[in-house]
């Protein structure tokens, strides 16, 4: 089994990039990934033995980010607290402008496929949806974003 340290140093930055581009919020992405990695560290003997430890961590990270976002929404409602508008630096801001029009589900699927480099079956496991739903979501996103998502070797 791979050590936690080796897995962590290889996957961390890619996971942050995937979640930032899924949520459009660096703070939320960092919170989700760090929380998920800390949980994975705690139970690494189990998680590390899984077929896809990264898939497990993505699932936990996405769920945690969702919870934090919900809590923020509640705080906004109860305390009239302003939710900061995502201010994405440099290249990520440009990318975000391109993918912002996608639905949340489409963005998650697209980022897990093209940034996290996961297979459709793995994405289905992460998001708790069938492989067919992953395919059709990707197809819809491809229709919308066209060349940005098309593989170079495709006609």
């Amino acid at each position: 089994m791979e050590s936690f340290d080796a897995w962590y140093s290889r996957e961390h930055d890619r996971m942050i990039a995937t979640l930032v581009l899924s949520t459009g919020d660096v703070e939320l992405a960092v919170e989700g990934v760090d929380e998920a990695c800390s949980r994975a560290l705690e139970r690494w003997t189990r998680v590390g033995a899984m077929e896809s430890p990264t898939g497990w961590v993505y699932r936990v990270a996405i769920n945690h980010a969702r919870r934090v976002a919900r809590r923020r929404g509640m705080e906004h409602m109860v305390f009239r607290k302003q939710t900061p508008i995502p201010d994405l630096p440099g290249p990520v801001g440009d990318l975000w402008e391109l993918v912002e029009s996608l639905s949340e589900r489409q963005r998650q699927v697209v980022m897990l496929r093209h940034v996290a480099d996961m297979k459709e079956s793995e994405i289905g496991a992460v998001l708790g949806i069938s492989r067919g739903t992953v395919s059709s979501t990707l197809h819809d996103a491809h229709q919308r974003l066209g060349r940005l998502l098309n593989d170079d070797d495709e006609p």
Binding site: R14, L21, A29, L41, A49, L95, V110, H114, G124
Partner: protein
């Protein structure tokens, strides 16, 4: 490689946020546990205060010694999981022991499985639809003896198996706390197909769990639930069909509706599991062990026969009436004899392991003249067997 992959590579090469070191992750983990403990303690205090206030206001309202503990411990679970822990004793009693729910099998502990005495083991898989329904029943039953956390890994059973796409969750990462016993769940595979045609593997059984699995589950079927090496369930105790087309929220909502098919299957199974779990309790037993449903289920566990199973009275051959009894009595006797033989045929196993039975028939014949004290006009029933024994056993008594 897509353009998006290329563009995002810059974000990986020049990360947007620093990577915390492992020590910082451990610190985060410790803080999380502290927060959880504080939240639980705070909520427990609130619940105790709330419960005290309610008792003061309504002296007549019934109290449950476990309710505050269960409520406090289950707050971290989503509403549908909380619904599983909130099934009331009156619902359990109303559901009872439906005839379509299998009775757990009594097993004998042995020296080889001593390490799992006092342990509730679950072995299943995320793709497995039978595991989907058994998980629910386990959750309902175990929630009466302790509390779960981290049950947020939602999964769908395989889309290509029987009962495709049932809504469930995975026990991977789940934690269970109880003063009565340990819960050791293992999900062997995910619901993600692997390249070799099966499913991607997830967890492995511990050596002790593997020993119990091999001993009590020689067919290696899933799910397997072992309650302290006293009782086991092999496969689903009820049909997963009741979950088809339902969301987790639908299922959670139906659990407290005693007449719903979901409650009949899941709470009905939980009644047996609770009775079996009560046999593992040492010292003071929780209140759930004293309910009517648990009492009846305990008796069924001892006998191995569901009190509501069809033809349950057919386990004893009916007494032949006197020859001069009215025809209505003979008709009833004939029906009972038919049921008795059907039950016998259904449970028949060849006593000689070298012989196999390919067919058993229960055939009726209306007597045209009295035979052995049975008057003419009564239908007499007989069992007939078709099978074969291996050549070296022929002539040694057959079946």
């Amino acid at each position: 490689m897509s353009q998006l992959t290329r563009l995002s590579q810059a974000l990986i090469d020049e990360p947007l946020a620093p990577r915390p070191n492992v020590d910082e992750l451990w610190t985060r983990s410790r803080r999380r546990h502290q927060r959880r403990r504080s939240a639980t303690a705070g909520l427990l205090a609130l619940v105790v205060i709330g419960a005290f206030s309610i008792v003061k206001i309504e002296d007549s309202s019934p109290s449950s010694p476990n309710s505050s503990k269960n409520i406090a411990a289950s707050v971290q679970l989503a509403s549908y999981y909380r619904a599983a822990g909130a099934v009331s004793n009156s619902t359990f009693d109303a559901v009872g022991l439906p005839s379509n729910v299998a009775v757990p099998t009594k097993v004998t502990p042995s020296i080889s499985t001593v390490a799992t005495n006092g342990v509730v083991s679950y072995v299943g898989a995320e793709y497995c639809p039978y595991c989907a329904i058994q998980r629910w029943a386990l959750l309902v039953a175990l929630s009466k003896f302790g509390s779960f956390t981290n049950l947020d890994n939602q999964v769908l059973s395989s889309s290509s198996d029987a009962y495709p796409g049932l809504a469930s969750w995975s026990f991977v990462g789940a934690k269970y706390t109880s003063t009565y016993f340990t819960f050791d769940p293992t999900e062997l595979s995910s619901s993600t197909p692997s390249t070799n045609g099966g499913y991607q593997s997830l967890e492995k059984m511990s050596a002790a769990q593997q020993r119990a699995f091999d001993k009590y589950n020689p067919q290696a079927g899933l799910p397997f639930v072992d309650m302290g090496n006293h009782y086991v369930t092999l496969g689903a105790s009820a049909s997963p069909s009741v979950l088809e087309g339902l969301t987790l929220g639908d299922i959670g909502g139906d659990l407290s509706n005693a007449t719903s098919p979901v409650a009949q299957a899941i709470d009905g199974t939980a009644n047996y599991l609770i009775a079996a779990l009560c046999t593992m309790v040492q010292g003071t037993t929780p209140a759930i062990c004293a309910t009517l449903a648990t009492h009846v289920a305990s008796k069924a566990l001892d006998s191995g026969v569901s009190p509501t199973a069809k033809n349950s009275s057919a386990t004893v051959a009916p007494t032949q009436p006197p020859t001069n009894a009215p025809m209505s009595v003979w008709k009833k006797w004939s029906d009972e004899m038919h049921a008795f033989l059907l039950a016998g045929a259904a449970n028949f196993r060849a006593p000689n392991s070298a012989c196999t039975i390919s067919r058993i028939d229960v055939t009726g014949r209306k007597l045209t003249e009295p035979l052995l004290g049975v008057p003419a006009g009564v239908t007499e029933w007989a069992l007939s067997f078709t099978g074969k024994c291996s050549p070296q056993n022929q002539g040694n008594g057959g079946l």
